[in-house]
Structures are given as C-alpha cells and as structure tokens.
Symmetry: C2
Subunit: 295 residues, 2 copies
C-alpha cells in the first residue's frame, strides 16, 4: 500500500476501513485485487460536492430556463419553466431527493434546451456559470464546495493504482467541463447521463435525445460496465439512487450528511441507502465526525 | 519527445511523419498538444490485425450461428444463418468490405444471439474461440495476427503521454476480452458497437438491443466524443468506415494493405479513404514498404 495521505480524515472507523480495504487489495492474500480490476467509482452530487439546496447543475439549468421563459413568455405556463419561475418548493424537493421521475422530466427538458449546440458552446456556458455564480447560502462558487477528504481519497486510490471514475446521475458533459481542474479526473473517466451527439460536416451537434438510460439506480452499474468493462471494486455514494452501484462493489462508502455546522444535515433521498449500509456492512462516512475539514 | 522505439518501421516517409507529429505535439511551438488533449484512436480490423478473409469476430460469430442452425434446423432457411451455412460469397464480400448495411443486419443478429447471457458467459465463449480456432490460411490463432508495428506505435504514444483508445465497428465486449493481454490497452479504452446490458438482482444481463449507434462512419467520432469528451488528435484506420474518425484528427494514418506476401493485398472497402488520404494529406502506411515485420 502506498503512503497514507488522508489528512482530512479523522482516525476513526471510516478511515480505518478504507485503509484496511486498500491494504488488503494491494498485498498478496485473500483480499488482493488485480491491478486491472482496481476500478473505483464515485457519485458526484452529495458525494463529491454540496447538493443542497439543489444539485449545482440545476442552478445552471434553472437560470437558463428562466432566461428562456423571459424571452418566450408562452413557456412560463409549462413545466419545468413554471416550477422554476414560481419557485415551486415541492418540485425542488423532488429534485433535491433525486426522485428518478422528476429527474427524467428535467433531463428530457435539459437535453431539449441544448439541442443543436456544439460542445464548445455548451462548455462556454458552463464555464461562465462556474466563474460567476455563487452558492445561495455558502457564498462561494460551486467548484469551491468540493469535499477535500474525497479529493485526498482520489489521490490515495491513484497512488495505489486504482483508476477513479465519477459516475453521476447528472450530466456527463456538464461534469467534464470542470473534471480535470477540480477533481484531477480526466474527462474520459466521467460517466453520467448524456445527450446523444451527431457528427456531420466535421462537427458535433447535440441532439434532443438522451444517449441510453439515465445514470441512476440500476443505470449506474449498467453505465459503469458499458464504460469500463467491469463493475467497481470500490464505490462511494450518498443517496438511494447509488444503492445498486454501492451493492455491486466489494467495498462501499456511504456519505452521511450530518454536519449542519459546516455543510447541511439531511436524510431525504438517502433513507433506504442508510438501511442498506447497516444491512450490507457498508462504511458510513459521517461528515461531522470523520472529516476534520470539509472544503 | 520520448525515445523512438518504432523498431519494425522502416526509415521512410510514414515513420518520419509520425516522428514529426509527435515531436511537434510534445515540444513548445505551434504543433504542441496539451497532455490532456493527447487522445489517439485506432480502428481494429485491418488496422491492428488481419481482417481477411473476414474480420475475426465474424469467424467467432459464424461458428456460433452454424451451431445454432444445426440445433434448430428452421433457422437454416433464414439470414444470416443461410449465408453462413451456404458459404455465400457475395454476403461475405459485404462483410469483408464492412458494408454498413450488412454489418447492421449482422450486429442485430449478433446482439440477439447473446441476449440474456452474462458478461462471464460471453467472455468464456470468446476466450475458448481465441485459444482453439486458427486463421484459415495463416494457420495461427487470430491473436497472433496483430500487427507488431502498431503495438510499437502504442508504446511510443504512451511514452509521449498519449492515451490510446481502440475504436472499432466491431463488438466492444468482444475486443475487451483480449484488449489487455493482446494490445496492452485497458478495457475502458476500448470503444465499439455494443449491446445494452441491464442490471438487476445483482447481475448484468445482455439485452437484445444495441446501445446507441453502430461505431462506424460518423458513429466513430460520436462514440469517441461520448467516451472521452474529446475528438482524437491522432487516429489510425484502414477503411472507408474510418473516414470520419480520420478526418476529425489532426494527424491521420491510413494502413494500405499492399503486402500479398506477408499479409493480403486488397483495396475493397478502402477506395474512398485512399482518395481522401491524398486529398487531406493523411499519412499512408504501406504494409509492404513501411513495415519490416508485420506480426
């Protein structure tokens, strides 16, 4: 095992479980994992960065929809524009809880909004949002709200010859804009829900269709297998939509948002995964107790 | 630029063009390519290994279909089983030329044949084929018919911090069985046409549906962008179905099968790509003149 650099992790049971797993995975013995099989996958929203009051991508998308509805008032009577303009809390609760049905509706509208755009156009819009918009209560850009302990875990896994992938229900192309500078993860290691692109006359144009399934629930191991040819040996998540991915891994980390001082305390959307963690022996990471630093 | 190890390449214009491109890509100057952008993509059949008399995957598939037709004689009257059992040369010509329409028919039958199987079952079948079946005229297993100069090129690109991907119209899951041991390419760097998988009750099962488009023609840059978030800076191919991928790259290699002594001499399926090479300044690799060793 390569040197421990999990500096923002307290010396508790979660850190010890990680160290024990990686020690076993990299040393001869029954827990050894072939280098080729060392695939680690992590959810994004709530696992790598703040997802309250809403996953950050929705901030980006909702601002776009609000502008679209202002430019075309006929949209204001329709969902999801109506909910965005009217600040519909029930609707937002479904988004925050990553309710698959709500997310399906949103992602369909999402793919539709950018149909016909090039990757460069989309990237520029995300980059402008990243550099100008701040989190509504924490007051810093969203890319400043990445959990430092998880980045240290990435470094630790890389040092032990794991390949780390991010696997989120959110937009693959959205995450890829900041993946390399924010996480140190190459774009090709980002797996997510995605619009199809068509290539003609020498350029890529986003279509109005989703490419395959949403990367949520059972979609996560499906996307991971399609992308990597394997299932993960280590996985990290924080919500019910991560259950199948976590259950597919030999070692699973479940982030528990129990730190209302430094981040947020909530269980919505994670009730079943907390029960599964107890049942299946997953390692629960208490943000409050296991992390000395959050951001 | 890292040391030149292209030992099986003669000191001719093709080798020099590769060296010039990589020198420029890795040194400060107008041809410099950021490390993050150093994506190289290569077709498989006819670019990395023999594709005559047929792409090897079809040998695997046709043997399976012949067995299926023997077990269920009603299949023998239907395509593609009829063509396989009857050794229909016209049909095989369309396969050899990678005629997209023929390939679509085949891949639909292909996904159907293995519907309901697990990755482990499919892998075991491919592995049995790899180790027992020999090329009909060259007399060695197909994995012995990989072009050594291309493997040296992979090493050379890796040494210069390129990430190398294989991008084939053939089956992604088929290639992934031997990618790591044969090419030194991790499974996650193999892009191809693929069946969808569904995950339930803790296991993956192959569905009867293709996942997205076939990885041919315009499908190649589409698949590469979906997988990597970029288009390639360097690409290698040998056929008309590679044109869009080659045109998307800054530096393109086109393998010309002109060596009937050591391999095969043919132009079927590559007529347009040869014209494009002249028009767009691609580097044509003569197997006869540019390679001192083929296998």
């Amino acid at each position: 095992m390569s040197q421990n650099t999990l500096e923002s992790w307290t010396d508790g049971s979660a850190k010890q479980a990680i160290l024990d797993f990686v020690t076993a995975a990299t040393a001869p013995g029954p827990g050894f994992v072939e280098v080729a099989d060392r695939i680690a996958t992590f959810d994004n929203d709530g696992t790598l960065w703040v997802e309250q009051p809403l996953p950050p991508q929705f901030d980006f998308v909702f601002r776009t929809w609000a502008e679209e509805a202002k430019a075309d008032p006929s949209l204001a009577a329709r969902q999801p524009y109506k909910a965005v303009l009217g600040q519909d809390h029930e609707f937002f609760k479904g988004v925050a809880a990553q309710d698959p049905q709500v997310l399906t509706t949103l992602l369909e509208a999402f793919t539709h909004s950018w149909a016909g755009t090039t990757p460069q156009e989309f990237d520029a819009q995300v980059r402008a949002w990243m550099t100008t918009v701040r989190h509504p209560t924490l007051g810093v850009p969203y890319t400043g709200l990445v959990y430092r302990p998880m980045l240290e875990l990435f470094d630790f896994l890389h040092a032990n010859r794991f390949r780390v992938f991010v696997c989120s229900g959110g937009g693959r192309d959205f995450m890829r804009v900041f993946a390399e500078e924010t996480w140190g993860i190459p774009k090709e290691n980002v797996i997510g829900s995605a619009a199809a692109y068509t290539y003609s006359d020498g350029r890529l144009l986003r279509s109005g269709e989703l490419l395959g399934s949403l990367d949520l629930g059972a979609g996560k191991p499906e996307h991971i297998y399609a992308h990597t040819g394997r299932l993960p040996v280590l996985a990290g998540g924080n919500a019910d939509v991560d259950i199948e991915m976590l259950a597919a891994a030999r070692f699973a980390l479940l982030v528990d948002h129990d730190d209302e001082q430094r981040e947020f305390a909530y269980t919505a959307g994670a009730e079943t995964s907390m029960a599964k963690a107890a049942q299946l022996g997953w390692t629960v990471v208490s943000m409050k107790n296991d992390w000395t630093t959050v951001f």
